[in-house]
Each structure stands twice: as C-alpha cells, then as structure tokens.
C-alpha cells in the first residue's frame, strides 16, 4: 500500500503502526516527532497508531539553525 512520507510516495507491505514504520526506517523514536494526517502524535501513542493506505506521515527531528532559512 502507498502512503505519503515526508511529502513523497512511500510503499509499505501492509497496514502497520507508527512504531513499526519507524523501525522499518531505522529511525530512533526518541529523537523524532511524528505527524499523522496533520495530527501531531504523542510519543506514547506510536505503538497503537495505525498507518493506513493513503495516510500522510511527517517525521521530523532537530537540525542546526538559528533563524530562518528560506
């Protein structure tokens, strides 16, 4: 099934939890924040939030910055 991951189409085998998705992507859940269909998830809900066909997922972390870059 297809989801939109950080703005790009991403293929996953079947519906899965956010925690499983992060594991597949080799991303440490303690270092990121996740938005699921425009709703920011509490970290404690990663294991119970299901990702379905067509869902939009944003995974972000902190990077170097002071003020705006365009």
């Amino acid at each position: 099934m297809r989801i939109t991951l950080n703005g790009d189409t991403h293929e996953v085998a079947k519906p899965l939890t956010v925690a499983e998705l992060l594991e597949q992507l080799d991303i440490d859940p303690r270092r990121v924040a996740v938005e699921h269909n425009l709703v920011v998830l509490k970290r404690g809900t990663f294991a119970e939030t299901m990702v379905q066909e067509g869902d939009a997922i944003e995974i972000v972390n902190f990077v170097g910055g002071g003020s705006s870059k365009g």
Binding site: I27, R43, F62, V63, G64, S67, K69
Partner: protein, 260 residues
C-alpha cells in the same frame, strides 16, 4: 548578598543573557566549543523532515548536552501561521518542551516577519499552552500586540537575519524597551561584539544570535567576545550612563593650576 544578575522568562530563570543558534557551523565540534565559550544557557534549533533515504547523518541532539542547555525549537522557514503552528507542535513533541521561538516569515529576500500571521500563530499557540517567544519587527505597536496576545517575551530584530548590520533602529528599540512588560530579546542582525553591547545598553534583557558567531573566522573566540559584550552592555545599562552633552566638561580640578 546574592549579586548574580538573573532574569526570568515564563518558568525559567537564566544567568546568561546570550542565546545562541546551532546553524551554519563548519562542524559539530566547533559548534560545541562555541556554545561552551558563549556561556549561553539556551540554544535554538530548527525542526526539519528526517532524511528518509539517507539515515547516516547524526542527530543534532547527539552533540548537545540537554542537561546543560535549554533547547528552544524554532519555526524558522515557515511562511504561514499554519506551517508555524504545525512546526511548533512537532517541535514540542521532539523536544518535550512547550517553548517555541516563533517565526513566520513574510519575504524571502529580507526574511522580515509577517506580523499579521505571527500574531495569529501566537494566539493559537498561547491557547495551547506554549511559551511563545516571537521573532518580530522592531515595531513598538506590533510588540505590544504580541504581548497582549500572550507572548512570554518579545524578540524584535536588530537588523535582517544574518545581515550583520547591527542595531538599525536604536530609537524604536528604546521605545519598545519603555513599553515592554515582558522580557525583551534582540534577535538577529548582530555582526560583532559592539552590536551586542549596544543592544544590552539599550536595555534589552538578552540577545539572540547565530550567524555572527557561527560565521566568524574563529567562532569559538567570537562566542567569547559576545559573552563579554553582553555582560559589558548589561553592566553599563544597569550602572546608569552619564548624559550626553554638547560641550566638554573637565574631569580635572579647575583650581590650583600652575602659573595662574
């Protein structure tokens, strides 16, 4: 007697009046040394999409001692209130803190704030329990509106972000200082130490900078220069400077001169 010069924003008290960024450093090691030399207690970071295809890059937080520094997520690069609100919410989850340096940019070339959208985003985020530190124009009326909207500090620019031009509108900052009932942080525009000292002499509670340190030929030494400048400027402000006069006023006695 406790003589340490402290100041408070919302629920946090600081002894350093210099806030620094994490962008534009040549390496994480230089950044860490510069942060140390700056004496800063609060560090601002940007929120960005994780690179899904290249997971090799280390996380910024691998290099920052979060027990030592307050991490201040920012909404840099956001051009609408909605984007900034989403980014602030994500930053809160990534950093587990409800503080945000709120930026809503109005124009790519100047990076000046869109104050209308900034006010809207401030209202929403304050309602959601955020401690909002908005980056804004050096406009006393906008600063007052941000305060009324619940901002925990106001952060007018000294000059455009990354320009290094120094404080461009001293008079406006003086007026903002007089009006402000929340801490005043001069954010952006500092080029060298005297700019930071001037901001503090005008009565700013703190100065926030990134490029002036990270872009210097020797960022670690410049970080120390900024630490000293912020302290010097603060001390000069609290010491009460002499008034400016048009003519000279001798500092040696006029009586007892030889040959008179």
């Amino acid at each position: 007697m406790d003589t340490v010069d402290r100041f408070t924003i919302a629920d946090k008290t600081f002894t350093s009046r210099l806030f620094v960024g994490t962008g534009k450093y040549s390496s994480p090691a230089v950044m860490v040394q510069a942060h140390d030399a700056s004496g800063a207690e609060m560090i601002t970071v940007a929120v960005r999409r994780v690179n899904i295809s290249d997971r090799s890059k280390e996380s910024l937080l691998d290099f920052i001692d979060t027990s030592r520094y307050v991490i201040l997520p920012n909404t840099a690069g956001c051009y609408t209130a909605d984007e900034a609100i989403r980014t602030a919410r994500l930053g809160r989850e990534a950093g587990l803190s409800n503080w945000v340096k709120l930026e809503v940019i109005g124009d790519e070339r100047t990076l000046f704030p869109d104050n209308e959208a900034l006010l809207e985003a401030t209202r929403v985020l304050v309602r959601e329990g955020f401690v909002v530190l908005p980056y804004t124009s050096d406009d006393p009326i906008v600063c007052r509106k941000l305060e009324d909207a619940g901002a925990s500090a106001i952060m007018p620019l000294g000059a455009p972000i990354g320009s290094g031009l120094g404080i461009q509108n001293v008079n406006n900052l003086r007026i903002i200082r007089e009006f402000a009932r929340v801490p005043l942080v001069v954010d952006a525009g500092v080029g060298t130490a005297s700019d930071a000292a001037l901001a503090m002499e005008l009565g700013a509670d703190a100065v926030l900078m990134n490029t002036a340190i990270a872009g210097a030929q020797d960022p670690v030494a410049m970080a120390e220069a900024m630490k000293l400048a912020v302290r010097a400027g603060r001390l000069a402000f609290t010491s009460g400077r002499i008034p400016r006069k048009l003519y000279a006023n001798a500092s040696s006695p006029v009586e007892g001169l030889v040959g008179r």
